[in-house]
């Protein structure tokens, strides 16, 4: 019990003094997950819109599949990307394994289904009367699409936030394709909040783990606050 309390006190000190290690790991986490989220947004939102507005055979099954992949295990994604980029894999020549780039790729793949699926839900959530109103106001096909997306913008934003949350909080893929490396240069290190917590805990550095955990929670809280503020504007 005493150790836990001490851990919290030490964690508070690490955060209050902007401990270099803790801040570096937090910054790397944000950069990698944010990059993955931006990439996934660029793919998922247009893809979700295309699926939602399109009519093609197997549409329902495709949406079902996407929804199933919401709970895609992170280690499976890690394994898949690992196989693709390891020395013997088809993309081995690119030498991506154990780099931040590999982590970005893995996290992008990981959050794509949930962001695509939630984009589809966001668009289906637009009131049918709004659709009819847009058409009755003389919207062209393109104007119609753009305005439906506009109506769904907050729900789509929430999809992006959820994607970021999943990216920054996953361990499995990050550790498999990133390797949890603490190298001399910031850019070639792959240690992020989740992998660091896992390592420090296993080494008995409870206070370090708690500090990193608090930072991770704080990031999640900050993202949530930003979203709420935008939605209430």
């Amino acid at each position: 019990m005493y150790e836990i309390i001490e851990g919290f006190l030490e964690a508070a000190r690490l955060i209050a003094t902007f401990d270099g290690d803790v801040m570096g790991i937090a910054a790397r986490s944000i950069i990698i997950s944010l990059t993955a989220t931006v990439l996934a947004t660029l793919i998922a939102v247009p893809l979700g819109a295309a699926i939602y507005f399109g009519t093609f055979p197997g549409k329902k099954s495709l949406i079902n599949l996407i929804q199933t992949l919401y709970s895609l295990p992170t280690v499976i994604v890690g394994l898949l990307i690992f196989l693709l980029i390891s020395r013997v894999g088809p993309f081995g020549f690119m030498r991506l394994l154990f780099t931040p780039t590999a982590m970005v790729i893995a996290q992008t793949v990981l959050v794509l289904p949930i962001m695509t699926g939630l984009t589809i839900s966001a668009l289906s959530g637009v009131d049918p009367v709004i659709r009819d109103t847009l058409r009755s106001l003389g919207a062209t096909h393109l104007q119609f699409l753009v305005n439906i997306m506009k109506e769904a913008r907050f729900a789509i934003l929430a999809a992006v936030a959820i994607g970021f949350g999943r990216a920054i909080s996953e361990v499995g893929a990050a550790i498999l394709v990133g390797g949890n490396i603490m190298a001399s240069s910031f850019a070639s290190s792959t240690r992020v909040l989740t992998t660091a917590i896992s390592l420090e805990t296993s080494m008995g550095n409870i206070s370090q783990s708690i500090a990193l955990g608090i930072v991770l929670l704080a990031i999640a809280l900050a993202v949530n606050l930003v979203i709420t503020t935008i939605q209430h504007r």
Partner: protein, 358 residues
């Protein structure tokens, strides 16, 4: 202006519209009245090109609007539509109203001017910067009306726009509809299940029942001379009695289950008819006090029930068939009638509207 020619629409299941035919004239307010589920919304949606008919044609200014896909945007842009459920875009009131103009590529200066005008027209001049979602249902519906009118449509379609609103908001929307029609000359097609609203607004009324117009006419025609038994019931005629014409001599005599009723009617002997008598045209007297209607009807009966209805009482008299009359409370007191009282009911032959039964 709008010609409906044998228009039908079938979704999965029975036909919603089964051959609707009517001409809507330029500059008139035409109300489509009918019970819920009679196909009013479907008809308006077909005219606004939101759905395609299964059969028949709809012509606007002579053009078959569903014939040519490329023309449909141009045709739709001649029309504005307000829907039953108040729905606004999640932005400011001004931006809501501006949408149609922006779709048409209007200049920013023009947009600003016209939106201001439109908001002033619906009495929301100071609401421009408000978020539309924060408004009341009635205010939202006025935004929807401004949004539809800002593009200066030739035709305004309104699909039960007041069905979900409070009485004050309903009155405001009705005022606006009348003013828009009067000042701008917009042809307005307004659907409602409220027959009195149909009557208040319309130059002409179409009664939509079982997928067709059971009757099209002025409110006066529809309310006093309903074309069918169903229309008579829908427009609130309480006394509808079946009978057979047994004699004709300027005034017909109709046998209704052994009781003879005189009525003005061109129908000839042997025709099966339904008689419509408005409850406000019936007089109730104590048995001995009644004066006989010359060439009219005086029927003895027993008071079956007296039911309060607002400031009036609905007195139902059993004369062999039930006849309901509406009397003030005071009149009921003065007559001293109660259930079981022997009375006479009298009404003029002119008060009886005769419908031929199919």
């Amino acid at each position: 202006m709008i010609e409906l020619d044998n228009v039908s629409k079938q979704f999965d299941g029975p036909a919603v519209l089964a051959g609707v035919t009517a001409r809507i004239r330029r500059g008139e307010i035409f109300t489509v009245i009918g019970p819920s589920g009679s196909g009013k919304s479907t008809l308006l949606r077909l005219i606004d090109l939101l759905d395609s008919p299964t059969g028949g044609t709809i012509r606007v200014n002579g053009t078959d609007i569903h014939a040519n896909g490329e023309e449909s945007l141009r045709i739709r842009r001649m029309m504005g539509m307000v829907f039953q459920k108040p729905a606004v875009f999640n932005t400011t009131v001004t931006e809501n109203v501006a949408v149609g103009l922006r779709f048409r590529g209007a200049e920013e200066r023009v947009v600003r001017e016209k939106v201001e005008e439109a908001l002033a027209m619906v009495g929301l001049a100071d609401y421009g910067e408000r978020r539309a979602r924060t408004l009341s249902g009635g205010e939202m519906q006025r935004v929807a009306l401004a949004r539809a009118m800002v593009i200066e449509p030739e035709i305004l379609l309104m699909d039960e726009p007041t069905a979900n609103l409070d009485p004050v908001s309903v009155e405001k929307i009705e005022e606006l509809v009348l003013r828009i029609n009067r000042d701008l000359g917009t042809t307005i097609l307004f659907s409602t299940h409220d027959m009195y609203q149909g009557q208040r607004l319309a130059h002409r009324v179409g009664v939509l029942m079982n997928g067709i117009f059971a009757q099209v006419g002025t409110p006066r025609e529809v309310f006093t001379l309903p074309a069918t038994r169903e229309v008579a019931r829908f427009v609130g005629i309480e006394n509808i009695i079946d009978g057979v014409v047994v004699a004709e001599n300027g005034i017909s005599v109709i046998d209704a289950g052994g009781i003879r009723i005189r009525a003005r009617s061109p129908l000839s002997r042997g025709e099966q008819v339904a008689l419509c008598i408005r409850s406000e045209d019936l007089r109730v007297f104590l048995e001995e006090g009644g004066k006989t209607h010359l060439n009219g009807n005086t029927l003895p009966g027993t008071v079956a029930s007296i039911v309060p209805r607002g400031p009036f009482s609905r007195v139902t008299v059993d004369c062999g068939f039930a006849l309901s009359s509406v009397l003030s409370w005071k009149a009921v007191d003065n007559l001293g009638i109660r259930e079981g009282s022997r009375v006479t009911v009298s009404f003029a032959a002119e008060s009886v509207h005769v419908i031929r039964q199919e």
